[in-house]
């Protein structure tokens, strides 16, 4: 089956799968991080890694890039010039409160569908789409149900695995009957994690904490809402659009109060006592939220600025997390 790669949470896996193609939301790693983008200064390390991953990928049949930030939008130009892989740039509006913005997103899904058909996909009937959506929704629900029963790193890796492999590769076994307790409850908030950054969950646990809210883009925050069963049956594409575009909170949206509403609810119900703020250097979108979050959250915030040059978490970051948790003890 042909694979379509992407990294943005606003690309619905269900839509790609319903076209008979394999969606894979990739999580870039360190491999080959020096080659494709000429400049490094000023370039978001995640964007750099994504471009490299796409260019070096030999398995994919197509790539979908979105316009959620200027750097990604421009990364599309680089991808188009540096590799042969068919590429699609999807307009994901920053505004979200108008009907027109929702309609634009929906139009873009249809256009994405045409791209997928050009790559050998088959345009799905509403029924076929609804069926795929239901399968994904069931799988997603079972992933979310493991929260608290897995270590935080296992849980977030499970989400990443679900994103990468879709419903098929998922294991929903709950290793522990009793939920995990203990450790100072923390949230990680910010941009996406790189493959090698999952170590952060263990670093937190080894320092006496526990990530109870993975609000990184690659975590729970980047998952779409549960589908409404009736709407899924009646108008699946519109429901898909609502669940993704209408529900995933992110810093890039204008205004982005949806993100803060979501955080308010999740931070409170998980009794979070501290926040690890995960941002890449040169990422303006998240960087600009740091100060506001500090004032808004009324919780201690540890700013982790990731340069992306290292193979894994730096000693400095590890030590800062230790110190942060020591203060919270």
């Amino acid at each position: 089956m042909k694979t379509i790669i992407y990294t943005c949470p606003y690309v619905p896996a269900e839509w790609i799968a319903a076209h008979g193609l394999r969606p894979s939301r990739i999580m870039p790693g360190a491999a080959g991080s020096t080659s494709s983008v000429g400049r490094t200064e000023g370039v978001c390390p995640y964007v750099r890694r994504f471009v490299n991953e796409v260019i070096m990928n030999t398995q994919a049949s197509g790539v979908v890039v979105t316009t959620v930030c200027d750097q990604m939008r421009r990364a599309f130009d680089i991808i188009m010039r540096r590799c042969e892989l068919p590429a699609f740039l999807m307009n994901v509006p920053s505004t979200w409160q108008s009907v027109a913005a929702h309609k634009l997103y929906l139009d873009e899904l249809r256009r994405l569908g045409e791209f997928l058909v050009r790559l050998g996909g088959k345009s799905p009937s509403s029924r076929a789409l609804a069926k795929v959506m239901l399968e994904y929704d069931t799988a997603r629900t079972s992933v979310l149900a493991t929260r608290g029963y897995l270590t935080s790193s296992q849980y977030s890796e499970l989400i990443a695995e679900f994103n990468r492999d879709g419903k098929s590769g998922i294991t929903t076994t709950i290793n522990e009957k009793k939920p995990f307790t203990g450790g100072i409850p923390l949230a990680i908030i910010g941009g996406p994690l790189l493959r090698e950054d999952f170590g952060i969950f263990d670093v937190v646990e080894n320092s006496g904490g526990r990530i109870v809210l993975d609000a990184a883009e690659t975590g729970e925050r980047g998952m779409c809402a549960h589908f409404d069963r009736r709407r899924l049956r009646d108008e699946p594409l519109i429901e898909l659009s609502n669940a993704y575009f209408g529900s995933i909170p992110d810093a890039f949206r204008r205004p982005n109060n949806q993100l803060y509403n979501w955080l308010k609810r999740e931070l409170a119900c998980r009794e979070v006592r501290g926040i690890i703020f995960w941002r890449y250097i040169w990422c303006d979108i998240w960087h600009a939220e740091l100060h506001r979050l500090k004032q808004w959250a009324n919780l201690p915030v540890l700013d982790v600025d990731v340069s992306g040059d290292e193979q894994a978490l730096t000693v400095r970051t590890t030590q800062r997390i230790h110190a942060f948790l020591e203060v919270l003890q």
């Binding site: 978001c44 750097q71 680089i78 108008s98 634009l104 139009d107 100060h291």
Partner: protein, 460 residues
């Protein structure tokens, strides 16, 4: 009095001003000696070199008195709308209403330069978490918070979507500080799909008809907000009249650019040309006066060209400049190094193209907004640059990176590649911070190297 075209210092301008005044100089109300603006804290003015014409004196005075104009407008009961991240669309709409003045808060970009970092705006932005990893437009945040550089607008309108991350993030920060903003979406301009209805845009790009329809609907939201602000209708008739006036400005600018960039001897320095082009964005808060200022500049330039006289020698290297400079002095530096500007893409070429007058006005504006070189791919922008290089006969391209700017990280590479492959002209990329004093020798060396390359190529 020496009336040969030339460049003079601020001190020399003040002496010249006295002579002109004694000789019967007639000026608009905002006129006066340029030196007085230093008293407002604009210390960089002391280090610049200016064109010595009366037309340029008027241009500078017009630019440097905008804040007074805004305060006067408010005192007269006019409503002020801050059009953010919008290079020439909503201002056209706003000026179609007789009681609204549009103003461009992003222009605070230049305050750190003009005031040589003495205004503390960057420090204020720092204190709000917007540090030097953002573009100098962060000064705008400081200007809002201090309230010292412009009256706070009655309405803020900001375009988002296919815009830079810097501005989008800073505007959101501003919004979070309690300044309400009307956001309107400008989508990334894409190529029409096969069989998709397409529309040609001003400037030559193409876009799908449905994107134009979408932008039009966004601008209708803006129109409603402006009507509410003004307390009067902004019907198509008024909007069409506004477009015609905006086109008058654009035609004058097109003529000024054409005559200046193609003249054998450079008739107007780079700095004055940069400021004249900027008038297209929001008319420096007075559309009619913008037209008068431009008319006078064109007359001056034409007179000089006809007389074969100019401000620089006749063997200067003809440079195409990409992106505005955060430090205005760099425009002088280019000329010191033996270059002149023959072609520009200061991020707003679309604001220099005429808006179609034969279309319904909202549609015409939507097309114009989508023609923005920054909302499409860098390849599109590079193609437009190539077309202008051919038109103006530029011999080299200088891409001036803006520190921290999200678009500069990746676009320079693409623009450089496209220009080199299409036209085989040398391309140089430099970075220009708001005050370049400490890197002036290095910058100078790099500019000289580019200019030498151009001159070497002429010999072949």
């Amino acid at each position: 009095m020496n009336n040969a075209p030339g460049q003079i210092t601020l001190e020399e301008w003040d002496e010249r001003y006295e002579q002109l005044r004694r000789a019967g100089l007639r000026e608009p109300g905002y006129g006066g000696p340029l030196g007085r603006h230093v008293g407002d804290g604009d210390r960089r003015l002391l280090k610049l070199r200016y064109d010595n014409s009366v037309a340029s004196l008027r241009l500078w005075n017009f630019l440097l008195t905008e804040e007074d104009r805004l305060h006067n407008a408010r005192a007269e009961g006019k409503r002020i709308v801050g059009t953010m991240k919008d290079l020439g669309t909503v201002p056209v709409m706003a000026y179609s209403l007789d009681n609204v003045v549009a103003f461009y808060p992003d222009g605070a970009w230049w305050i750190p330069c003009v005031m040589e970092l003495s205004a503390g705006l960057l420090e204020t932005a720092d204190s709000l978490g917007i540090d030097e990893s953002f573009c100098p437009v962060r000064a705008m945040l400081g200007a809002f918070v201090t309230g010292a550089h412009f009256p706070i607008p009655d309405q803020l309108v900001c375009s988002v979507g296919a815009t830079c991350d810097d501005f989008s993030a800073i505007a959101q920060r501003l919004n979070g500080l309690g300044y309400p903003i009307l956001w309107w979406e400008i989508p990334h301009r894409r190529f029409p799909e096969v069989d998709e209805a397409a529309v040609r845009l001003p400037g030559g790009f193409c876009a799908p008809k449905r994107q134009v329809e979408f932008v039009k609907s966004e601008l209708e939201r803006v129109r409603t907000a402006l009507e509410r602000l003004a307390g009067q209708r902004l019907d198509d008739k008024k909007l069409s009249a506004g477009i015609q006036k905006a086109n008058e400005v654009r035609r004058y600018l097109a003529e000024l650019r054409q005559v200046t960039f193609t003249a054998k001897v450079c008739p107007l320095p780079a700095l004055e040309m940069l400021i004249a082009e900027m008038l297209a964005i929001h008319f420096c808060s007075d559309r009619d006066e913008t037209i008068s200022v431009l008319k006078e500049l064109i007359d001056e330039v034409k007179t000089r060209v006809q007389a074969g006289r100019g401000v620089l020698g006749d063997d200067t290297a003809r440079i195409f400049w990409v992106n505005p400079v955060a430090d205005l002095q760099v425009m002088n530096l280019l000329e010191d190094c033996g270059g002149r500007i023959c072609g520009t893409e200061y991020l707003f070429s679309h604001a220099l193209d005429t808006i179609p007058e034969e279309l319904p006005p909202a549609e015409a504006l939507a097309r114009m907004a989508l023609a923005d070189p920054m909302v499409g791919s860098s390849v599109d922008r590079a193609e437009r640059i190539c077309a202008d290089i051919r038109r103006f006969g530029s011999e080299a391209v200088l891409i001036s990176r803006i520190p921290g700017a999200s678009h500069c990280a990746l676009e320079g590479e693409v623009i450089g590649e496209v220009v080199r492959s299409r036209l085989e002209v040398p391309v140089l990329e430099i970075e220009v911070p708001p005050v370049t004093d400490s890197i002036r020798p290095t910058l100078g060396t790099r500019l000289e190297a580019l200019i030498e390359t151009v001159k070497e190529r002429r010999k072949k």
